[in-house]
């Protein structure tokens, strides 16, 4: 069996299609495993993983922690708000101090784009990016693509729309890289102020018409409006955003086909997606969360075997 082409998972941009397929095939086994009565295997029993979160997170942190525990790894959790970072310690010092306690892998979320690359170049442990600013969130893209594959089979030729706040979204960028590598057709849709100009150069279509996009796509991945990153007014009000770009159940019902609805969470109900659409039978939001654990187990398992 081939192994991953990298020791770190920094972004989807740096890995190959073969890597993605290997992660999916391994995740298939872990998905079966986490549905057994006893969901634990001893593979990573000699490994310690530090989960270092400089930004708040619920799903990703819990998902990584569960993945680590189900592989029998020892885990240490570290949140920047309650640490010496608030006393002025640098990122490298913080991480080196943790590594001095013999940690083998680091899962890190950081508000600065590129923080994980910086770290991977300087420390001996494997680094997994759990989101670096507005740059990449590779495990989210992998679990999104894994969930689509589960629903529709091979992604080649499938039409995937990414709708919402593309500008601030690391999920969007990682998703675009991942879907294009797997041969899918990708369209991003949102208000002109929330789609960076260079997006067209990545090989995706750009649209500002939500209904046209929904008619075009097989899968709609709806992204959250990142309220915490709206440093200037990108749109007049949340109400107006919902009116022009919110996905509702009546819109889904007006289509002549049934599309798959996804959302990486957390949902702002009534803003980018209405409650009835988020809870509809077309929505696979909770399957995405379940698959997240399996995909992260696969990533940790494959990286750990690279040493």
């Amino acid at each position: 069996m081939s192994s991953l082409s990298t020791r770190h998972l920094i972004g989807i941009k740096n890995i190959t299609e073969a890597d993605i397929q290997l992660i999916f095939e391994t995740a298939d086994n872990f998905k079966e495993l986490i549905n057994r009565p006893i969901k634990k295997v001893p593979s990573l029993r000699d490994i310690t993983v530090a989960n270092i979160f400089f930004e708040s997170s619920t799903r990703t942190r819990v998902s990584f922690e569960l993945a680590e525990k189900r592989l029998s790894a020892d885990t240490v959790n570290f949140a920047a708000s309650s640490s010496s970072v608030s006393k002025g310690e640098t990122l490298l010092d913080t991480v080196n101090n943790i590594l001095a306690m013999k940690v083998d892998m680091v899962v890190m979320r950081h508000p600065a784009p590129g923080a994980c690359v910086y770290l991977a170049d300087r420390i001996p442990a494997n680094v997994v990016n759990a989101g670096d600013g507005t740059h990449e969130h590779p495990t989210q893209a992998l679990l999104d693509a894994f969930s689509i594959r589960e629903q529709l089979g091979d992604l080649a030729g499938k039409k995937i729309a990414i709708i919402g706040d593309i500008l601030h979204s690391r999920v969007a960028l990682s998703n675009v890289f991942c879907l294009l590598k797997l041969g899918a057709k990708v369209r991003v849709c949102g208000p002109p102020t929330l789609i960076p100009k260079y997006y067209g150069d990545l090989g995706v279509e750009v649209s500002h018409d939500i209904m046209d996009t929904l008619r075009w796509c097989d899968v709609a991945n709806v992204l959250r409006i990142q309220l915490e990153r709206q440093d200037i007014k990108y749109f007049p009000s949340l109400r107006e955003y919902h009116q022009y770009y919110g996905v509702t159940k009546s819109m889904l019902e007006s289509l002549d086909k049934e599309i798959v609805v996804m959302h990486p969470g957390p949902i702002n109900r009534g803003v980018e997606i209405s409650s009835d659409a988020a809870d509809s039978k077309q929505s696979i939001i909770l399957q995405q969360v379940e698959n997240g654990v399996a995909v992260r187990m696969a990533v940790l398992y494959l990286l750990a075997s690279k040493g």
């Binding site: 081939s2 086994n29 009565p37 634990k40 001893p42 593979s43 592989l71 750990a304």
Partner: protein
Amino acid sequence: MQNGKVLLSPQRFELTIERICHQLIEDWGDFSDVCFVGIQMGGVPLGNRIVERLKVLTGNEQILYGKLDITFYRDDFRLNNKQLAPHPNEMNFTVADRNVLLIDDVLYTGRTIQAALSALQHYGRPKTVELITLVDRRFNRHLPIQADYTGMVVDALDEAYVKVRWQEIHGTDEILLFDKKN
């Protein structure tokens, strides 16, 4: 790959499996409180053969049979550079209070069986566990593990490699001995 020495020809191969089946019937009757567990990969083709043959011989179509993947329980993870690839795991029953007949093609160091015993614990506490193997390399054990049902015994040096080939996978049924792996 070099040509291996044939230890068991297709004709004797079938007879060997037949003999194991009859031994099993003598010991376990109609297999009502027994389950078979084939270890991925090598144990599964052997398990398929044995279970199919036993269904014909006993008329019991309900024989419990699962396929166990032991990849995540192996003790050599991270000890070599080879990526350990998992295989499908199909265990649709628990082994609690059942007599488990574990199946593998070649019993060599015993480490696979040790991993399988760990994996099995995740499916309950079996009443007993016995081991069926087609080839027993009896002088190469690293652990105190022995087979209860054996197709043939092979005495070979540590660096030798025994390969079981299956009609449905490799086009012929035979057991080959090579001087060294690859």
